[in-house]
């Protein structure tokens, strides 16, 4: 039973980790959690669905289109809405993300309706591979692999490419970055684009499992946020580890202790962690930007 529970935890944790990573990379640039993250990903998943069912394109084209849309949506959100605010405070920005999420939710309800839909996907949630006593769906295997590879790519991007380093520089100190010739404004927009793409990958992997409707990413956003707080809001690696940890703890708790309090336990752990380590399990002590 234990390996089965760990496998389920890892699969759920992959989604949390992706959402946590998406949240953290924009959080580091704006110091504001983007609550529209989930619904931006949801709308992008609907775009893929539209291509698959209305225009009957192949998976590669549909998913590609969704990711491009997600990127533009992310950049557009930053450039057209967040950046336009005059003298933004944290509260203003948070309210803007909340407003945007409501608008997206309303839009999806109006455009596609609230019915649950089966989301077509190349591999199935009901097709099972067995490793000894562990049965795991091909979708879960794909989720774990794709999430893992994507996250490695993102880290490699931040570490080894010029643009990635410029992004990190902007996150640490936008003014110093600009003095050194980094186009900081463009970089911030780009960060939102990349974050939106990562969230959309999570959405595309979630939709075939739990069916597609406008509430698709509610749970994932909440858990991703929790994972990011758990691991540390200012460390992408920490947030990702937080995601996996959360998925595994939840499943262990559900299987051995109480299913009823499975969802609550995540938040309980966070309260405890924050009590002892306010910057999260893996976070370095937070210093305010000037």
């Amino acid at each position: 039973m234990l390996p089965q529970v760990l496998a389920s935890g890892l699969s759920a944790g992959s989604i949390y980790a992706l959402m946590a990573l998406a949240l953290v990379i924009t959080y580091k640039t704006t110091e504001v959690p983007n609550f529209a993250q989930g619904d931006m990903a949801m709308v992008s998943a609907f775009i893929a669905y539209m291509f698959l069912t209305d225009f009957e394109t192949g998976f590669i084209f549909a998913f590609g289109a969704a990711l491009v849309f997600a990127f533009l949506l992310g950049v557009g959100f930053e450039v057209l809405l967040l950046r336009r605010m005059r003298k933004p405070t944290h509260l203003n920005l948070i309210i803007m993300t909340l407003g945007f999420t409501l608008a997206l939710f309303g839009f999806a309800g109006w455009k596609w309706g609230a019915d649950q839909r089966q989301f077509p996907f190349p591999v199935s949630a009901n097709e099972v591979i067995r490793f000894g006593s562990v049965s795991i769906s091909t979708l879960s295997v794909a989720t774990i692999l794709i999430a893992g590879i994507l996250m490695l790519l993102v880290f490699a991007f931040f570490r080894f490419t010029k643009l990635g380093v410029a992004m990190q520089a902007t996150q640490q100190d936008p003014i110093a970055a600009r003095i050194n010739g980094v186009p900081a404004r463009a970089v911030v927009g780009l960060t939102f684009g990349i974050s939106s793409v990562i969230g959309t990958v999570a959405a595309l992997l979630t939709a075939p499992l739990i069916t597609l409707d406008p509430t698709l990413m509610w749970d994932a956003l909440l858990k991703g946020f929790a994972a990011a707080v758990l691991g540390g809001l200012n460390t992408p690696v920490g947030a990702v580890l937080g995601g996996y940890l959360l998925g595994v703890i939840e499943n262990l708790f559900g299987a051995y202790i109480s299913v009823e309090f499975k969802s609550v336990v995540a938040f309980l752990i966070i309260v405890i962690v924050l009590w002892f380590r306010p910057s999260g399990l893996f976070g370095r002590h937070h210093e305010r930007k000037v």
Binding site: M1, G9, G106, G109, G113, A114, Q116, R117, T211, N251
Partner: protein, 414 residues
Amino acid sequence: MKSIRKNELYRPRMMTFLVFASICMYGCSEPIDEGGVRGVTDDTIVIGSWGPLTGPAALWGAVGRGIEAYFEMINEQGGIHGRQIEFVLRDDAYQPSRTVAAVREMVERDRVFAFVAGVGTAPGRAVVDYIMENEVVWVSPATGATHWAYPPRKYLFAQYTPYFDEAAVLVDYVVNELGKTRIGVIYQNDDFGESGLVGAQVALEKHGLNVAEAVSVEVPDTDLSSHAVRLRESGAEAVLMWLTPRHATIIVGAVGRLGYEPQWLASSVLADTELMYDLTEGAWEGVIFAAIGELANSAHPLIEQYREASARIAPEERASEFFLSGFRYAEPLVEGLRRAGRDLTTESLVAALESLDGFQGIGAPLTYTTNRRQGTRATFLARTIDGEHAERLTDWLESGVDIEQVIQRLEGSN
């Protein structure tokens, strides 16, 4: 300049004018009731309803649109005693606070004569006292909770078979007909889910059995792997699910991945077989579910008539179980209006509804008397087959469970 304008508002004459104007406007928008009956004129009857047309529960918005199509069909046939039905449908997004506002508006501004359906237990409970105080007839709340007819209220006529009755009938069937003794339950952790759990418990106790394992699901949960493991470990041969379509899809998938194959038993909330087959990619095969209305694919003459009418009136709608349930909720109201005759008053409608004795549309036979306000407690069972539709297994059945016992347990658990 600006400050002077602001001050003008505080002048007594200006204020008087504004107050007068607003009273006037409010007064003008109010329709005048002929003969003093609210919502009834020489050639119209105003009927109201509410439902989640937007928001996370908007799946059930189809109920209200079904009612609308039904009334339009009745109007096409010439209305009722020379009167056309005007239907007012308000969106509450399944939020009780918005239901309260919508219902007040319908009573005070739109002056509705009666209410029909209204989706959801929590929204309904938020307005039931207000509707009763205003002496507005309310037919068929669209929920199987026990709060409507127990105790009976003069203006409230319930139709939806209580959820616990469905659960008890399902359990009796698998124990008696299929010989299963280990029954598990997976239920949504709220009023709706607990009704299913209590119904199963009470029915099992009659057979000297207990629930093998009961696991609850919170509404936002999306990962049900540990629920599946718990059910498998319990060795349950049949599992009763009191869930929404999304959670049902997730748990059927999670259980299937473990190679565990219990007999699934489902509530009438999951009776939309076409939808469930689609969502589960075919894993919905062989599920036994409770139904409280004729199935959407049945050859029942009324269903055929309704399907034909909805294809004509609302071609964009799928004639799903939820959509057709709107027709079912409105049937007894229309029958009552017919029996009340041309001299329509609230009292004559109540008397007409109380005269229904075994009246049947596409639901179970309905009977109301002066102190019986739950029209039926019957359900029938069906099984999904052939990867696309459902076959009827039984005739209308009643569980015979003592309702007072169930209500006590439900109140005890809250």
